[in-house]
Symmetry: C2
């Protein structure tokens, strides 16, 4: 089963305490697609400018990611510049150039419209709604958002939330969206807005899953070196959705295992700059670290 992602395909310029990188491949759709591609066929919908290099597109096609939904428009590609603190959990956005993303109207190629597993990356909720309107037979739609949309496009975001199954969000966004400091209360309040399931990303502390029938917690994989946290959340979502599309198992156990696969993918992402690790590792590496998660968390045997 294939997975469709709509989101940004971008240039990222990143500074961390361990080094810096200029105009490397970034964007929510890029990280998601590479993360999901270990498990399932992936289709990207996004927009790039004239300056976007063929090399970066080749990275996708080498992973058999379908890029027919990436439109090339006149102008420059979306560019984000960020700087991480000594405490690698904190970052500042130094520059943000929307460029071609500003006028983007996502149009799904006809053959994309039957997509069953869909991820709406962190873009304007208006665009997310446009995508939902073009889909015909979704089985599972997940979506991400951010503080900016929660504050500035709250009404549109609420419309999106009524039409999706899974909200992927970090803990400060969950607090902002719900108005509750306590994360359990926050999640319960957001469940009432529409989603059947909330995945709260807590960076180095792991992931919490909330639904009406279940609460699941998994730690993050403890790493000796977190090199660049960019894309951890999107590649987590990619691993999660990709694994679900592969397994087709939406039982409670199946959803939980998909969350752990997502966490495995994210743990690799942060080990090097940008998407580098995601293009290095194999499915065997991923299965091995999945086993590492079992050993990390098991207290029965």
């Amino acid at each position: 089963m294939s997975v469709l992602v709509v989101g940004t395909v971008a240039f990222d310029s990143i500074e961390t305490p361990f080094g810096s990188a200029e105009r490397i491949l970034g964007g929510s759709a890029s990280y998601f697609a590479l993360g999901a591609s270990f498990f399932a066929a992936v289709r990207i919908v996004g927009v790039i400018g004239e300056d976007f290099p063929q090399d970066y597109l080749d990275l996708f096609t080498q992973r058999k990611i379908d890029i027919d939904g990436i439109e090339r428009e006149k102008g420059d590609t979306f560019h984000w510049r960020g700087r991480y603190h000594e405490d690698i959990n904190l970052r500042d956005t130094v520059e943000l150039h929307l460029n071609v993303l500003a006028g983007f109207e996502p149009k799904l190629p006809e053959r994309y419209r039957d997509a069953e597993y869909v991820f709406l990356g962190n873009i304007d909720p208006v665009m997310q709604l446009e995508v939902l309107n073009q889909l015909r037979r979704m089985k599972l739609v997940a979506c991400d958002t951010m503080d900016h949309w929660i504050r500035e496009s709250n009404e549109e975001l609420k419309k999106v939330l009524k039409r999706i199954e899974v909200l992927v969000i970090n803990d400060s966004e969950a607090r902002l969206l719900s108005g509750y400091d306590n994360i359990v209360k926050a999640a319960r309040a957001i469940l009432k807005m529409g989603p059947k399931m909330i995945l709260v990303k807590r960076g180095e502390y792991g992931v919490l899953q909330f639904s009406d029938s279940s609460v699941f917690a998994t730690p993050a994989y403890p790493l000796e070196q977190v090199f660049d946290p960019t894309g951890a959340g999107d590649s987590f979502a990619g691993g999660f959705m990709g694994h679900l599309a592969r397994s087709g198992d939406q039982s409670q156990g199946g959803l939980r295992r998909a969350i752990v696969y997502g966490s495995v993918v994210a743990s690799f992402t942060v080990e090097d700059f940008g998407v580098k690790r995601l293009t290095d590792v194999s499915l065997t590496d991923i299965e091995k670290r999945y086993q590492g998660f079992v050993e990390l968390t098991d207290f029965h045997s």
Copy 2:
């Protein structure tokens, strides 16, 4: 098997966003002892002043905690006043009166000296060393400390670390003690200082265990209401040591289950002011929430 704890028996005055309490029973030894008492016989060594009420001592004896090691000295009891922020993970010490604790020289009653399971609560490392010198046949010694001793009594603390098996510490203390920001590197560095095992307490994010042969992570139990975090860490240590003393199982699995029992006890502690919940709940409640931890973290079935 019984557990010996040396630490503070105190008055706590606490202000949280949800209310306040004056001069309630507090101190590391109190929380530890009540937490451990669900599983094992407990003996306390500590000091109180003339102002310490019999009611509080009765709380211990009702739980069959041996208080013969609590000395009553001339003067007032150690008193801590703390204020928690809206973000309940943050707190300020508003007042700290050492009182009788200032001149405390722990002396173990003769029959305490054969203790096998020992917890050195967060007190001056010089006092922790005095206790170690009075013990004859320890099987497992765990110890806590804090930023003050790491900074001001580093040499004495290092001597303690060479003589214990388990260091129970929070993440900021682990960073301060090791000089590493990354918690995996921090734990590896501290393991080289002597302890066979480090338990890193991360509050609402759970606990990480590090030893040469194992890394274990457990989330905290997600609670809708964290009323008062005081004593969470000490009652965690109490549950951990108490369960180990009961089971006698120091296998990897046995240690991990003890960590989860400790987390269960801590999750109850924070649900009400001071030690109130610890004196309310039963072993049945604890076993039930232990099962809740299994359901919270299981992704195999």
